[in-house]
């Protein structure tokens, strides 16, 4: 009502004339900008130069020096064998690898020719168009025949191979020998014994967690699901459907989540813990048992429980059974954008060779991906015996679908476990929700 009074008669016309120019300018700007759609990079590589500089990205481990030494020796030998070739190795931090690798896919010019990557990321990276298909070279490689089937599966997507397995990692049960002796406990042989032993420890020693568990520790929880016959998802003709809400899976989820509570690991603390937190608790003497990997050996040795612990395979449902473990580990792959494909594939074979893997085991404790090399090292180092047994008993892997990276990143499974242990939802409702979320991702990304 105020406007007509306040404005002089000629004002609206003048104003429109004044605003017309900038509006026109804006329209022109928008039209020009429309040409600049969000960028898409070209990862096709193209050339295959036979000399020059090869760039390699490997993960930076906690104590990285021994790894560097082994890699250096391998690289030196490679450089000698290939005249005019230089290899630059860069160690990238594990925590920020996702961003770095994404950036490498987005900007092929700054990308390496060869990189180490976590085996659960294989399918996602393939979908992103970042990894080169090396099926032909891998099949022709004589050492690859001894690669164990789970490791081979972890580099395979839709029947094609996208790299070479570098090492494997599995988890088993760490327990405190001194606590077991003091309380006169037997090493648990079945899953129900494991749960009751955990609670006995907590009852006798309330300052300890019986078995350190974590709501965000997916790979510590999955053996419970797998040993009960459940699966995360099942593949049907290349596409996956979630089965985490099946009756068998729910039984396993119930078993694992029963460990959260004041009688073992209080939910207020343990719901937010991840795998590393449970190992830290065990290494600092705050837990009677923990589910840890061969790769956690050094961390536990460095803790206050050194010399007071032992490791056995995680028991399954029946006595003598071993709960299927998640087959973790890393692979080495050639990037699709490389301009030195032949050289890069060659270096990949050298880094993932039986010889290098054997040396890496001595240096870092990484379990080799070749069945025969693994059997050899188990004889040398009795510590890895339970892990090798676990690998031998059969391991499981995450769904080899590009959707997995997204499911993993959006924390579907940790959310499910946390909802149950914090009492927000019961097992049936939480697992059904998790399955719904997973299926949505499978159908959009699969």
């Amino acid at each position: 009502m105020k406007f007509p009074v306040r404005l002089p008669a000629g004002f609206p016309a003048r104003r429109s004339a004044r605003t017309a120019a900038p509006i026109a300018a804006l329209v022109v700007a928008v039209l020009t900008a429309t040409a600049c759609a969000p960028q898409t990079s070209d990862n096709s590589g193209g050339t295959d130069e036979k000399s020059g500089t090869l760039r390699v990205w490997l993960f930076q481990e906690v104590a990285n020096e021994p790894k560097e030494k082994v890699v250096e020796a391998t690289v030196d030998a490679f450089e000698k064998a290939h005249e005019g070739t230089k290899v630059e190795v860069e160690y990238i931090p594990v925590e920020t690898r996702a961003q770095k690798i994404k950036a490498a896919f987005n900007d092929p010019k700054s990308a390496p020719d060869l990189m180490e990557y976590g085996n659960t990321d294989t399918a996602g990276y393939v979908k992103d168009g970042g990894l080169a298909d090396v099926t032909q070279e891998f099949t022709d490689w004589n050492e690859a025949k001894d690669t164990d089937p789970t490791a081979r599966q972890s580099v395979t997507v839709d029947g094609k191979i996208y790299g070479a397995p570098f090492f494997v990692g599995v988890r088993a049960l760490y327990y405190r020998t001194d606590v077991f002796k003091e309380l006169d406990l037997e090493v648990p042989k079945t899953q129900s014994e494991l749960i009751s032993t955990a609670k006995e420890i907590r009852q006798a020693k309330p300052e300890l967690y019986g078995l350190a568990v974590g709501g965000a520790f997916t790979y510590g929880a999955m053996p419970f699901v797998w040993s009960n016959g459940g699966e995360i998802a099942e593949g049907k003709g290349g596409s996956y459907a979630a089965t985490i809400d099946s009756a068998a899976a729910q039984k396993g989820i119930k078993a694992y989540t029963s460990l959260f509570g004041d009688d073992n690991c209080p939910a207020a603390k343990c719901a937010s813990m991840g795998g590393n937190d449970t190992i830290t608790a065990f290494a600092s003497g705050k837990a009677g048992m923990a589910i840890g990997g061969d790769f956690n050996h050094q961390a536990v040795e460095a803790g206050s429980v050194k010399g007071k612990y032992a490791v056995v395979p995680l028991p399954g449902l029946k006595s003598g059974e071993i709960a299927p473990a998640f087959a973790g580990g890393n692979n080495i792959g050639v990037l699709k954008s490389t301009s030195h494909r032949t050289l890069a594939v060659d270096l990949m074979k050298q880094l993932a060779s039986k010889k290098t893997q054997g040396e890496l085991f001595d240096a870092m404790g990484f379990l080799p991906t070749y069945s025969d090399v693994r059997a050899d090292v188990a004889k040398k180092e009795p510590f890895v015996e339970p892990f090798v047994q676990t690998l031998g008993a059969g391991t499981k892997f995450v769904p080899a679908s590009p959707a997995w990276a997204e499911i993993d990143a959006s924390l579907v499974l940790p959310t499910m476990f946390q909802e149950i242990v914090s009492g927000k939802k019961d097992v049936a409702a939480a697992s059904k929700d998790a399955a719904t979320k997973m299926n949505a991702v499978f159908s959009s990304a699969g």
Binding site: A17, P38, K127, G129, K269, E406, A409
Partner: protein, 352 residues
């Protein structure tokens, strides 16, 4: 200022009683007649401008129209490059299927129309997160303003030494980077090693386990790191208020609270408006505190706010297009809140 003197002159005649009794009403009351008398003012001015402008136009067509834009051009170019273009890209991406596979060229980019928005609005979690964000931001804004204003008034009341101490403490909190502040607060409230639990005798109570206690903890940290801005700004405003006004109110026997409500707050209104809008925008976009203190959104995502949710969609899951859609929705909400707020103020006769 001209308007104020115009409006004030007839009121002075009205009597001294009125000015004393209702200084609070004085602002708007003096404003509305001012507005009424002002209306012929610009009209007159407009006539004058037009009178001068028309012949000028005839001799140099368009010259006067373009000159201001020429001067504004550098600023517009910067704003266009740094603000308009990114927002335009954000909007564009939100209409596409744009994930890591599209960025690195594994799959072609496709147009989705409102597909991303449909996914977003169909997601039950989005609405929960939106509600949590609105309530949390509102609580943060109210608490920050209350604490900041109270301490600003306190600053004018205490002696030099305590004032210096309070200023330094506040500036320290202000200067602390959000990550550091969050980490320190988390450590203070740590269930195992935190001094707070030890002092209160709470044993190993976990503050981040419950949804509300986790939000409350983050709220404390947000207030702690954003009240200094409010405090310093309002304190500067209070200092600019003429002493005799406060003295007059005190002589009339007004209490501290009454002085604040009826004298200071109306006089500081422009400052409070800026501070409130700032706080709304900051607290609605809070990210670091939630991300650090609740470990990326709390147990089972119970402490997610929109910004962290957008981050998890856009970067953790590489769904850049869905993350952009969340960004656009946030932008629209903030624009709407700010515009409605400014509009309300305008109606009350205040101009920023």
């Amino acid at each position: 200022m001209k308007r104020m003197t115009d409006g004030a002159s007839p009121q002075r005649r009205g009597g001294t009683v009125v000015t004393r009794k209702a200084p609070a009403g004085g602002g708007p009351a003096a404003g509305s007649p001012g507005g009424a008398t002002a209306s012929p003012g610009p009209a007159r001015g407009g006539d004058r401008v037009r009178g001068a402008g028309v012949p000028g136009r005839k001799s140099r067509p368009g010259g006067g129209g373009w000159a201001p834009w020429l001067y504004l051009a550098p600023a517009l170019v910067v704003i266009g490059g740094l603000l308009v273009y990114p927002v335009y890209q954000l909007g564009l991406i939100s209409f596409l299927e744009y994930t890591q596979a599209q960025v690195s060229g594994g799959e072609p980019t496709t147009f989705q129309g409102f597909g991303n928005y449909a996914t977003l609005f169909g997601d039950e979690q989005f609405w929960q997160v939106l509600l949590a964000t609105v309530v949390f931001a509102a609580a943060c804004v109210v608490s920050t303003l209350a604490v900041g204003c109270a301490l600003a008034v306190l600053l004018t009341r205490v002696r030099a030494l305590p004032r210096l101490a309070l200023m330094l403490a506040a500036l320290g909190a202000w200067a602390t980077p959000a990550i550091t502040g969050s980490t320190v607060w988390l450590l203070l409230f740590d269930p195992d090693f935190g001094p707070v639990n030890r002092m209160l005798g709470l044993g190993d109570h976990s503050w981040t386990y419950g949804r509300y206690s986790a939000f409350a903890l983050v709220l404390l940290e947000v207030v702690w790191c954003s009240f200094p801005f409010v405090m310093v700004t309002v304190y500067a405003g209070i200092r600019a208020v003429p002493g005799e006004v406060l003295e007059a109110a005190a002589l009339d026997g007004a209490s501290q609270w009454r002085i604040w409500r009826s004298v200071l707050a109306p006089m500081l209104r422009p400052i409070l408006v800026v501070v409130t809008i700032q706080s709304v925008i900051w607290d609605f976009k809070v990210f670091t505190q939630i991300y650090v203190m609740t470990n990326g959104g709390g147990i089972a995502g119970q402490n997610l706010v929109l910004n962290v949710y957008a981050y998890q969609k856009a970067f953790a899951s590489s769904q850049y297009s869905l993350g952009s859609a969340i960004g656009v929705v946030m932008l629209l909400i903030l624009l709407a809140v700010t515009l409605v707020y400014l509009r309300l103020l305008r109606r009350q006769g205040e101009e920023l």
